[in-house]
């Protein structure tokens, strides 16, 4: 079976400083459809850089990146933007909700991005469906200021899910939440894997990592498998 994501020998060197620093060194990673993978590691170990490369925010200096068997390591920005829209959903530690927009409008942002056009009615239906998926459809008209942290992160998850991505990339999504709320957010993320969406979760939280199918340790730019207890 073709892996959803297949990284081989990914290397990233941080330039522009006094001495170039290798952030990722020959990283190999394969993620299957519906699989959930946690990446753990110390601060500065390169987790976010790896996620940036996975999400096509950044390019590797060496190695290959296959998405659905297609090499996308050297994709021009225009095509990368299109792939980000069609294949990826992103959830960040800070929710990045626009405070002047309602929850529904924030979710709709992923649909009004210049990559195809949906009529207003169809857009609204997709947005409500995504909010429903994370259990906050009743908050559709609320602005972020009137929502709790957990609710705001769920809006961010709904925004990531609204285009029905193939891969969900989450960078410390529970970092700003209490344990109970964080668990609920992880539940929402895991529910997406049931319909074949791959999930890559970068986290410091061992408990949340343990709920993933696999946990990988990133130490000094090298990825190693950890056996979940």
């Amino acid at each position: 079976m073709t892996a959803l994501i297949e990284l081989t020998g990914i290397t990233k060197v941080l330039k522009g400083q006094q001495q170039p620093r290798t952030i990722l060194s020959g990283v190999d990673l394969a993620v299957q459809p519906g699989e959930s993978v946690a990446i753990v590691g110390r601060s500065g170990s390169g987790k976010s850089t790896l996620l940036s490369i996975l999400g096509l925010f950044d390019r590797p200096d060496e190695g290959s990146y296959l998405l659905d068997g297609r090499d996308i390591s050297r994709l021009p920005e225009r095509k990368a933007a299109k792939l980000r829209s069609s294949h990826f959903g992103f959830v960040f530690q800070r929710f990045f909700l626009l405070k002047h927009l309602t929850a529904a409008q924030n979710v709709s942002m992923a649909l009004v991005n210049g990559q195809g056009w949906l009529p207003r009615r169809a857009r609204r239906a997709r947005v409500l469906q995504a909010l429903e998926q994370v259990g906050i459809a009743h908050l559709a008209k609320n602005r972020p200021a009137r929502m709790s942290g957990g609710e705001q992160q769920r809006v961010a998850i709904a925004r990531a899910l609204v285009r029905e991505p193939k891969v969900l990339l989450a960078d410390e999504p529970t970092g700003a939440l209490d344990t109970e709320t964080g668990t609920a957010v992880i539940d929402a993320l895991l529910s997406a894997t049931t319909r074949g969406c791959g999930l890559v979760l970068v986290t410091h939280d061992r408990d949340h990592a343990a709920r993933m199918g696999r946990t990988l340790d990133l130490v000094d730019g090298v990825l190693t498998q950890r056996v979940n207890a």
Partner: protein, 427 residues
């Protein structure tokens, strides 16, 4: 095409959301741009109004644009040829200029030579009954009489020269000729008849008798000399065509011919045939007007452009500050797949919409201002009466708003498109 339409709509939706979210900043941008756009609108409106006023004045004193004026001195043969050629033609009218004295017989008119009433040009003629006229001699006793230039027309002159009615009515050419010729006088003549009470008796050299005229109306013809307009056929009752070219009074004759009419060619050929000297002029009012207004308009437009540039600097400043504030938003939009071009489009859409809103306000204020000026000053300045806001000024305002939007939004748009996507990862 469909993709472009989707991006255009996306830019518009997000741009409007941005404007609604930052009302104060949008207002500040509009304030900085308002004076510039207003200046452009006012200059363009002023130029259009001046164009119309000047064109209207040129048409009043000369003829409508494109009309050919054929002039000649009045000789019996030439007069007969002209009257024969223009008879019953809608595309040409002959105007015969005569001297006429209205008032007491055998007296020197108060304005010899049909001079304006507040000036004295000297000279002029005194006509004795239906006999010959002589130069007004110093010995002629001053009396209650007014001398006017009399313009006798073969047809209605107004399609060629839009005289402005001021009182009463204009001459009716469709009716039977009246035995008492109907006169329409100009403003200067009306001033004279208001100032001097004279008997209604008109003397013209070559007339079979003194004529009793009817005054039916007053027009503004832009002439500083007192003048009266009359139907030629009504005058012919008392002044046969053979006597029109009176050797004592002389007189001039003009034929106004519409653009493209064959009358010009026929008439000049006929007049050449009898050896009559003519001068021909085609009215090109717009060209004349353009040369008069061009420099003035350029100077004012340059000044308006300068004010607009200051407005652009304002919108640029606010735009840069706004992009700086929205770095995370733009990075996030890129993360969810928004292309760089669309990010630039969003910023440009915001500044363009701001420019358009400003243009709408400036146009509204200008139109309201013009209406107020028209109401307040219309009585003293007739050309301001019923003045409509010129559509050219509206178009100029919209273009100025759009140009300012593009200029003011260009650099912020480039900045927005260049925001690194990793900003959201590092936050």
């Amino acid at each position: 095409m469909r993709r472009l339409s989707g991006r255009f709509r996306s830019a518009l939706i997000i741009g409007l959301q941005g404007i609604r979210a930052r009302k104060t900043r949008t207002l500040l941008s509009m304030v900085s741009l308002f004076l510039g756009v207003l200046a452009v609108v006012v200059v363009q409106a002023g130029a259009s109004i001046a164009d119309k006023a000047l064109l209207s004045d040129i048409e009043l004193t000369s003829a409508v644009d494109g009309t050919t004026i054929i002039g000649m001195s009045m000789q019996p043969k030439a007069t007969a040829v002209v009257l024969d050629t223009v008879h019953d033609r809608p595309d040409a009218v002959a105007m015969l200029g005569l001297a006429a004295i209205i008032g007491e017989p055998n007296v020197a008119p108060v304005n010899p030579g049909a001079s304006p009433f507040d000036e004295n040009w000297g000279g002029g003629m005194v006509c004795y009954g239906n006999g010959p006229c002589e130069p007004a001699a110093a010995t002629a006793p001053p009396g209650q009489a007014v001398e006017v230039r009399l313009t006798a027309m073969t047809a209605d002159v107004r399609p060629f020269r839009p005289l402005r009615p001021k009182a009463g009515q204009w001459l009716e050419f469709a009716t039977m000729p009246s035995m008492a010729p109907r006169l329409v006088v100009n403003l200067e003549a009306a001033k004279g008849f208001e100032r001097y009470k004279v008997p209604a008796e008109m003397r013209i050299g070559g007339a079979t008798t003194n004529i009793t005229p009817q005054f039916v109306g007053v027009v503004d013809d832009g002439d500083m000399q007192p003048r009266a307009y009359v139907r030629l056929d009504e005058l012919n009752t008392w002044l046969p065509s053979a006597n029109l070219a009176d050797p004592n009074t002389g007189g001039e004759m003009q034929v106004l011919v519409s653009q493209g009419s064959p009358v010009q060619q026929v008439l000049t050929a006929k007049l050449k045939g009898i050896g009559a000297e003519t001068w021909i002029e085609t009215v090109d009012a717009k060209k004349q007007m353009e040369s008069e207004l061009k420099l003035l308009r350029l100077v004012f437009l340059a000044m308006a452009g300068l004010v607009l540039l200051i407005g652009v600097a304002g919108i640029l400043n606010v735009g840069l500050a706004t992009v700086g504030e929205r770095v995370e938003e733009f990075a996030l939009r890129r993360a969810v797949g928004t292309p760089r071009m669309l990010l630039a489009g969003i910023v440009l859409a915001e500044t363009l919409l701001t420019g358009l809103f400003t243009a709408a306000v400036a146009i509204g204020v200008s139109a309201a201002g013009l209406k107020a000026v028209s109401v307040l000053l219309g009585d003293s300045e007739p050309f301001l009466q019923d003045m409509q806001f010129p559509w050219e000024a509206g178009i100029a305002g919209i273009i100025a708003g759009l140009v300012a939007g593009v200029l003011g939004g260009f650099v912020p748009a480039l900045r927005a498109a260049g925001i690194p996507i990793a900003t959201v990862m590092r936050a």
